[in-house]
Amino acid sequence: MLKKFVTVRFVLSICLFFSVLFAGYSIYYKIKYWGFNFAPKQTTDVWTIEAHISFEPTGDPIKISMATPTVSDEYKILDEDAVAPGYKINKDRKNNRVVLSSSPKEGTQNIYYRILVFDNEYGKGKIRSPIRPEVEKPIFDEQRLTVAQELLKLSDRQEGDDVQRIIRLLNQTPPDPTVLAFMPMKKSQKEITEAVSSLLALKNIPTRTARGIKLEENKKSFTPDLMLEAYMNGRWILYNIQTGKKGLPENFVIFQRGGVSLLDVEGGSDSVIKFTVLKSISSSLSLAGPRAKLAEMKNWYDNSIYSLPLMEQNTLKWLMIFPLAILIIVLMRNVVGVVTMGTFTPMLISMSLIKTGFLPGLVCFGIIITLGLALRAVLSKLNLLLVPRISAVVIFVILIMQGLMIMGYRMKFDVASSAAFFPIIIMAWIIERASITWEEDGPVNATREIIFTVLVAIITYFVISSEYIRHIMFAFNELNLVILFIVMLLGTYTGYRLTELRRFAPLVQKKGK
């Protein structure tokens, strides 16, 4: 017999263990690939980047090719679209370009290309590239070569790695005379980039340029920033061309890399590209789908509750909290040993309290029960049969609720209007049971049962009303499996209940004397 008992508990413990493992993995998975958070209302910044391309058509067929942000690592693209009436839009995913073409047009052309991106968690600005690119040696005359070598020597006095030293030297203020001999005093980003790459080429370090934009709130009409990428130790590393800072700056989106242009316009002249950035906020949960898609972890997602329509999700969100409430009921009954009216009545009351608000709900509950009991006392004098009697109590409850709502409205007493949220049948049964207990076991027992029922309901309420807990139970619904096995394990709990410690205390205390 003992053996069998051990096995049941053992099997359940194993199940619990595996469910915890599964939940743990699943939580990790959801956080990593779907971007879920433990905190509710966690938001992710979604950036709208708008590229405004304008040019004058020359009368030839138009073909515009623009670089788009690289999808892979730094940023994830939520959505993209182009406002270009009369243009055919093609996407060249392989080269990260969008191509717009049209027949000849007249007048200034304005094309908008919008892209929604979020999240740069993985963007560390380092890209592996096993194949070492060729270094294009710059063509310098002898005098310039000497200056360049002088510069390289000078750069050794600067701090940082090879690339940083050169960048810092060239950006020094006031500029070193040797630098002035190499390039003009007033230099553009582009000129610095070119100078740095040619100097690095002398040191046999391959480089390429990168264009991107820094995401800042409400940034309007700006041109993309230039950055330098140098190939070091098998990977491309980004450098800020002014400060020499290594790595991808925060909130930076790379649009284009290497020699290819940011924008090519055929059949147009005076082309200008300006960017605008807008920040919006979206809940992390709603971005889970796109994230899962991007992480190529969509199989689970499609079969999860988060792929359901929002209305169904909301229903489920409500249901997902039930197991936790049930666990509380089990604990209260089998471990604490509280006697309540009906097993799940406290849970249902606490659910109503959530809808009504805590205090208004309690007040309403109190009024309904008190009035109901008073009416029920009258009823018990009439000696009705059971079913008609309980039906009468149900109607009482409905009438009390109606009265409360009318009174609440007339007297501008908001509290009363929440009365309708209580489950009518449950309320009727509480009244019926309380009144029978009252008659049979006395008012003390009846009141105690009601108080304990409400007490358990309040405890349940405080657990399930927490936004945090509700969010966690919904976002990480595999926890319900863990709860299932905890509840089943509690089914094998043979220890004393808390109330029994008091109930049976006389047995021990007498022994002590």
Partner: protein, 320 residues
């Protein structure tokens, strides 16, 4: 500040005292030795009565059974010729729905507590029973009309109104623990300890009082009659135990509570059996139930007849 903590006992001290907790009772005893299939045998008092009479156990005489609403009006025909009767729900528990009529005529019914009821009120009570007000789970029920038990006069000073009965816990056919339940004013004439009845722990080997409690507190005298509870001594103790022990053969339940009442003229009679007897008996006895259960598990022989088992308990029960 933490004075209230003193009213709690530590789990380890309870374990040491062999106290059986509710969870342990349900999981280790009831779910193991009481097959759910057997419950209807004890939950339905009509069945219990039939089974008991079949193997020669005395029960209160059955006057009649009312099964459907329109039979209720035949009540007077049923009880014609009797001076008194008891109405009980067949599936009731804890004395709920029991109505004791001491005397009656066509119009008026006098209850045990002296209240006067009209025929309509009695009619109402029975129809409540039928509609399931007192039955477990609120299912439709039937009402039993039984002869009134005239409990032995020697107990009259120990009880206020109600019938004092002996509750014996029978484990694997062996009487394990016993107590007498005496109704009080506070319990409203009922014999349930939680309603305020007095529980007197009885020595399983001789039926003599061990100690008495009311509302979980030890007492020496009956609160209403002032009778000295320590002198309580149950006659026909062996017969009591044999009736209880036979409950095992009768139902097959490994753990049961037998309620036995001593009738003045007919001797000990089985009132009812309970497949889920409560744990308050431990408080009345001042000792835990786990110890005797363990002893029965370990040392008591199996395969004995009810009489042999009772004799075994009477000779070995007290010693450790």
């Amino acid at each position: 500040m933490f004075g209230w903590l003193k009213s709690f006992a530590s789990p380890s001290s309870l374990r040491a005292a062999g106290v059986l907790g509710m969870n342990r009772r349900n999981f280790n005893v009831i779910s193991k030795y009481n097959n759910r299939r057997l419950y209807p045998l004890v939950d339905d008092k009509v069945q219990t009565k039939k089974l008991a009479n079949k193997i020669g156990i005395n029960t209160p005489g059955l006057i009649g059974v009312i099964e459907v609403q329109n039979q209720v009006q035949n009540l007077l025909d049923l009880v014609r010729g009797y001076d008194e009767f008891v109405v009980k729900p067949a599936h009731g528990s804890g004395g709920k729905g029991v109505l004791v009529i001491k005397s009656f005529n066509e119009e008026k019914f006098i209850t045990a507590s002296g209240k006067t009821l009209t025929f309509n009120e009695v009619y109402q009570h029975i129809s409540n029973i039928l509609s399931g007000l007192y039955s477990l789970g609120g299912k439709y029920d039937i009402a039993l009309i039984e002869e009134l038990v005239h409990f032995s006069g020697m107990f009259s000073e120990y009880s206020y109104q109600g019938v004092p009965d002996v509750r014996v816990i029978v484990y694997k056919g062996y009487p394990a623990m016993a107590m007498m339940r005496l109704s009080t004013k506070a319990s409203g004439g009922r014999a349930n300890l939680h309603q305020g009845a007095v529980g007197v722990g009885l020595d399983i080997t001789n039926g003599k009082s061990l100690e008495a409690v009311m509302y979980n507190k030890p007492i020496k005298f009956h609160p209403d009659t002032q009778a000295d509870l320590s002198t309580l001594n149950i006659p026909f103790w062996r017969e009591h135990l044999i009736i209880a022990a036979k409950g095992y053969e009768m139902t097959g339940l490994g753990y049961l509570g037998a309620d036995i009442v001593l009738d003045e003229s007919r001797g000990p009679m089985m009132l009812e059996l309970n497949a889920r007897p409560g744990l308050a008996i431990q408080i009345a006895n001042g000792k835990g139930l786990a110890l005797p259960l363990k002893k029965i598990d370990k040392y008591y022989p199996s395969g004995l007849s009810p009489e042999e088992r009772v004799d075994y308990v009477l000779t070995h029960g007290g010693s450790r």
